[in-house]
């Protein structure tokens, strides 16, 4: 009996210790406001960046499959350069070398930088999606008298979207995690908010674990959301 009392007592003490630690580091002095601000920054930068990335991805995926060598060349150079350089390095180049001397705000640079980076990956995802559609589909469309553009727009793209969607959504989720390097250009994202709490409290594990939990909840929630979307799109599939 005593043993159990001790056991549960120590567990209780552990949790109340964690709770008070959590209060001291994350709640006191309104520090959770920092986290909320950081979370908001992370989300809006990721969302804006993925929109830019999608536009770039659409255009360059079409360039990649076009007949013009020039367009294919541009798309290839772009994806090679952007995918070959780490995001942190790219962001520092975009900020310190290119955009800041022009007087651009660092949040805007963060959005553009992440957007350009994501664009390269989205390009490859869309290209793979389009090329994954059986060539017979295009041939059938063309022999029915549709133009190249019509075939692409009405027959190939709708099918390509469906196959590309899972990888496309995971690119968005990856982008949310990648934004954690934004503190290199002094943007206060979720990760930096954790850093600042660490600097104010000198408690390492509570801010880090809290931030990790928030990232995990965010990505897990989005994964589930996108899974529902995928299921709905798959309804029209036979078999």
């Amino acid at each position: 009996m005593d043993f159990f009392m001790d056991f549960f007592g120590s567990i209780g003490a552990f949790f109340s210790g964690v709770a008070s630690d959590f209060y001291q580091t994350m709640i006191k002095d309104g520090r959770w406001l920092l986290v909320a601000e950081g979370l908001w920054t992370t989300i809006y930068i990721a969302v804006c960046a993925v929109l830019i990335g999608t536009v770039i991805g659409c255009l360059l995926a079409l360039c990649k499959i076009s007949k013009s060598r020039f367009l294919r060349g541009i798309a290839n150079v772009y994806t090679t350069i952007i995918r070959g350089i780490p995001l942190a390095t790219q962001l520092m180049i975009f900020y310190f070398v290119i955009f800041a001397p022009m007087g651009m705000d660092r949040h805007l640079v963060a959005i553009i930088g992440c957007g350009i980076n994501s664009g390269a990956y989205v390009t490859e995802i869309f290209r793979a999606g389009i090329q994954g559609v059986d060539i017979g589909q295009t041939e059938a469309g063309r022999s029915l008298g549709l133009s190249r553009l019509q075939t692409m727009w009405r027959i190939v793209i709708p099918q390509a979207v469906k196959t590309a969607l899972p990888t496309y959504t995971s690119e968005f989720i990856a982008l949310i995690k990648e934004t954690s390097v934004l503190s290199f250009i002094a943007v206060m994202d979720l990760n930096k908010a954790g850093d600042m709490i660490r600097n104010a409290t000198y408690n390492a594990w509570m801010p880090l674990l809290s931030i990790a939990a928030i990232y995990l909840l965010l990505t897990f929630g989005l994964t589930k959301l996108f899974a529902i979307l995928e299921r709905r799109l798959a309804r029209s599939d036979r078999g």
């Binding site: 020039f70 900020y95 310190f96 800041a100 001397p101 022009m102 007087g103 503190s183 000198y202 390492a204």
Partner: protein, 258 residues
């Protein structure tokens, strides 16, 4: 197609250069409180950052990985002023002719070696080494080497220890002249001093370079034994680490564009 692209690029270039000329504003700062309402760059986790946060609440703080990044942003017009320790500031200004240090002094602080809370054995060993260094004249030699009047730093010989045990010192090598990189070597006043301390204790020194704001966490986690990184003694830090006797007195300064 090529023509259209060229026109587009020319347009973008023109637009950008127009934006570029208009942005950098001149600021007048007479007292440190004038920083209020400005954009201020700092190095994350430093006393400069804490000071600005506590004394100038309306400031928009940009917290960078190193003082040099903050200075670069100041040059580019991203921030209006940078708050940083005086010696690294003097180096930054020496290398960037378009920046200057203001004649305002608003804090006094002392650098000391940080150790884990309650590690009194290491604390007294370090204090003994520092005291010994001061009486033997090695301390003045190091000062003369790293902070010479003519600005020509001569890196002194390494203090070599033949001990078998290693002791790990954490630092952030972006803080001239206390710790910085020369070629592929990390050198500086703190490094030489730590070598002296390690030699005094009969141990080998291992220098671990990391972000300044990661140092205290790393020491608490046990991956380094002490911190010598131009770290000032503050009440907040004292709640979480112990400090040796101070070894250098410093001040925060404000850098602005000329």
């Amino acid at each position: 197609m090529k023509k259209a692209l060229a026109v587009l690029m020319a347009a973008v270039f023109c637009m950008c250069s127009m934006v570029g000329c208009s942005q950098k504003k001149q600021v007048t700062i007479e007292t440190a409180e004038d920083l209020n309402g400005l954009k201020v760059g700092v190095q994350g986790g430093t006393t400069g950052e804490t000071w600005v946060k506590e004394n100038c609440p309306d400031t928009e703080i940009a917290s960078f990985k190193s003082g040099m990044d903050a200075a670069l942003d100041l040059k580019n017009g991203g921030v209006d002023a940078v708050v940083i320790d005086e010696l690294p500031a003097s180096q930054i200004v020496a290398q960037n002719s378009d920046l200057k240090i203001l004649d305002i002094r608003f804090t006094k602080e002392e650098y000391a070696i940080a150790i884990r809370k309650g590690d009194t054995e290491l604390q007294s060993a370090i204090n003994a080494a520092i005291a010994d260094m001061k009486t033997s004249g090695e301390y003045d030699k190091l000062l003369a080497a790293f902070m010479p009047a003519d600005g020509e730093v001569k890196i002194p010989d390494e203090y070599v220890s033949d001990g078998s045990e290693t002791i790990k010192m954490g630092t952030n090598a972006a803080f001239w002249p206390f710790e910085y990189t020369e070629g592929n070597q990390i050198v500086g006043f703190d490094i030489s001093m730590s070598q002296y301390v390690a030699q005094h204790m009969g141990k080998k020194l291992e220098v671990v370079n990391m972000d300044f704001d990661a140092l205290i966490g790393a020491m608490q986690a046990g991956s380094i034994d002490f911190i010598a990184a131009g770290m000032s003694v503050t009440p907040e830090r004292l709640e979480n680490v112990d400090f040796s006797d101070p070894y250098y007195e410093s001040e925060q300064v404000i850098i602005v564009r000329k």
